[in-house]
């Protein structure tokens, strides 16, 4: 294809939740594309469908209608195991609530995606390197309850980047952090974008966080209300 390569291309994506009698339209026909290496922020009021959209892009949920192409591949044509492979290799998740395994060390948490990728030999070394790159080289044997919120989120980032994914999806990554830790987290993510060319999709309520993005998509009631393209 001659046009600039789209990592993500979404066409008319909709999601309807059936709640007994009533239907909840979480997404009503959303279309957009994301270029490789782009930093995109998604904003919108609570309940506007941001998390729903991220779950679709992360292959955690299946849209009710519409098409989603990830690196040119139609995601709806993939089976369960292929979806697991996509989540493992192409996508890194950073959640608002960190989502670390409570009883495992930071190292074991970061090793997890490598284990599911079937990597055995240099798994530990790679996980350690990832933790070092987020500044936690001296905390690798700590369990989550022995780490601060900001440190836990950094473990989550190390876990997201350890498999060198094409895309990192961050759903309110700074939502549970104070502004200083939040800044550090954003800095880590942007570094990754610069050095590795990783595509970043960040959901946020915080205009300061969104300010780092090249483009902001505003959602309202499950539809795109508008886009801001920045310098």
């Amino acid at each position: 294809m001659a046009e600039k390569e789209n990592v993500i291309r979404i066409e008319n994506l909709a999601k309807v939740y059936q709640m007994g009698e009533i239907q909840v339209h979480a997404l009503r026909g959303v279309s957009f594309s994301v270029d490789r290496g782009e930093v995109l922020a998604i904003m919108g009021p609570s309940g506007s469908g941001k998390s729903t959209l991220m779950n679709m892009i992360g292959c955690l949920d299946i849209p009710s209608s519409g098409d989603y192409f990830l690196e040119g591949e139609l995601v709806s044509s993939l089976n369960d195991d292929q979806l697991a492979l996509v989540r493992n290799r192409k996508i890194g998740f950073v959640f608002q609530k960190f989502n670390l395994l409570a009883r495992a060390t930071a190292l074991a948490n970061v090793e997890l995606p490598l284990r599911y990728a079937g990597i055995n030999g240099d798994r530990k070394a790679r996980a350690q390197k990832a933790l070092e790159s987020v500044g936690l080289g001296d905390r690798i044997y700590h369990q989550p309850n022995e780490l601060s919120g900001g440190q836990q989120q950094r473990v989550a980032i190390a876990r997201a980047l350890v498999n060198e994914p094409a895309i990192i999806l961050a759903d309110e990554p700074t939502g549970n952090l104070d502004s200083k830790s939040g800044e550090e987290i954003m800095k880590l993510l942007l570094d990754l974008n610069k050095t590795q060319g990783t595509t970043l999709l960040i959901v946020t309520h915080d205009p300061e966080v969104a300010a780092v993005a090249e483009r902001i998509i505003h959602l309202r009631d499950g539809s795109i209300e508008g886009q801001e393209v920045r310098s």
Partner: protein, 410 residues
């Protein structure tokens, strides 16, 4: 996914809920222990019976009145005349010795010491049929049978129990059914089994037994006749001859069924085998039920564990776990639970079997209990199977969770 890592993770997760894991394991421990203990006790009892029968010897044939396999009404009693006819070497040349036996329960006592036991009225040939050797004194003689003498031959164990010693007791007077009997001999100790201990035998002349022991209607009736064959290979021929003789003495018309049964060692072994099989199945069934209950316990706990860890499952899926990775993770946990329980259960079952064997020996019925490799293998495989069977449903439930829903679960 690396198996070792999987095991380590499963151990960690079981370790995080120590008490719960322990209680779950306990169900399997009890189940497997009862399978092991009951099976080995059943098997040992079977071995004991089989050993007993094998000690009869291949050249001894039992003749009993009646016939189980054919419909025979009013079978004639076996009589002393039948025994005489069998002893005739022209009519039954392969038969070496014939020993008719009248046996009945009666009280035997010495001084204040007394007990109810089975008394056998026998002829001198009984000694040769059963290969009895004497520790002291003599076996019952022809003259004593003819004279209806009140004499008795004791096994060493009953002598010990009754008189307090098993030697130097020739001439002592014991009472059987209230009548005085003189001890004329003690048999050599043979060592017995739980079911028929020859060291507890009490022999009196068959003629004395006719008057002193309760037995069949006709005065000449005997309970059974023992026959020994000179050559064990000729047993079939001997059986044919015995059949011919008894059919003629009982006047059975041609083509009518025998009204007596002839059994040799093989027949007894077959009967015993069917009895012990039933026993083993019964005991094993009881054990299997407790194992089943233990398995349901595992399933219950695994379901709880899956529910508790829904978010964890969602997270693992988000990080790239396939369905089979999650399935394996939870199956490993349940199999680990059941296998640990199985191993502990084998040890406990073994201990129980040992204790039972000790108690049996103390109470006078030596029962050699061995835990066989078979029952250990069975218990191990069974407990692993329980883990897989009862763990599969919860594991599959975990593996089938949709990633978003699992992640959103509170």
């Amino acid at each position: 996914m690396n198996i070792l890592l999987n095991l380590k993770e499963a151990l960690q997760s079981l370790n995080a809920n120590k008490l719960r894991s322990l209680l779950t394991i306990l169900g399997i421990v009890i189940g497997v222990a009862s399978v092991i203990a009951l099976l080995s006790i059943g098997e040992s009892a079977g071995d004991s019976i089989t050993g007993e029968i094998e000690s009869i010897g291949t050249n001894v044939i039992y003749i009993l009145s009646g016939n189980d396999s054919d419909d025979v009404t009013n079978p004639k009693d076996l009589t002393l005349q039948d025994a005489e006819a069998l002893a005739n070497s022209r009519r039954a040349p392969e038969v070496a010795y014939v020993a008719p036996v009248i046996s009945g329960g009666s009280e035997i006592s010495y001084g204040a010491e007394g007990r109810e036991t089975s008394i056998s009225g026998v002829t001198p040939d009984y000694q040769f049929v059963q290969n009895i050797t004497m520790a002291e004194g003599d076996f019952i003689s022809e003259a004593q049978v003819e004279g209806r003498s009140a004499v008795v031959v004791l096994g060493p164990e009953i002598a010990q129990n009754l008189l307090g010693r098993s030697s130097g007791i020739i001439g002592s007077a014991v009472r059987i059914g209230g009548y005085p009997f003189r001890v004329i001999g003690v048999t050599e100790a043979k060592g017995g089994s739980a079911f028929n201990n020859p060291d507890n035998n009490v022999f009196i002349p068959i003629s004395t037994a006719q008057t002193r022991l309760p037995h069949g209607d006709s005065p000449n009736a005997v309970q059974f006749i023992l026959v020994s064959v000179a050559q064990a290979e000729d047993a079939d021929q001997a059986i044919q001859q015995i059949t011919d003789v008894l059919r003629s003495t009982h006047r059975i018309p041609p083509r009518s069924p025998n009204d007596f049964s002839i059994l040799n060692q093989q027949d007894f072994l077959a009967v015993a085998a069917s009895i012990t099989n039933v026993l083993t199945i019964f005991l094993g069934g009881i054990g299997a039920i407790s194992l089943l209950v233990g398995g349901i316990g595992i399933m219950n706990i695994m379901l709880v564990s899956v529910t508790e860890r829904t978010r964890e499952i969602g997270l693992r899926k988000a990080l790239g776990a396939r369905k089979k990775d999650i399935l394996l993770q939870f199956l490993t946990e349940s199999v680990l639970l059941s296998m640990i329980g199985g191993l502990l259960g084998i040890a406990l079952g073994w201990a129980i079997a040992l204790v039972v064997s000790q108690i049996a020996t103390r109470s006078g019925t030596p029962l050699e209990i061995t835990v066989t490799a078979n029952s250990v293998l069975l218990a191990t495989l069974f407990s692993a199977a329980v883990g897989i069977f009862f763990g599969y449903y919860p594991a599959n439930r975990a593996a089938s969770l949709a990633p978003v829903e699992a992640l959103r679960y509170e």
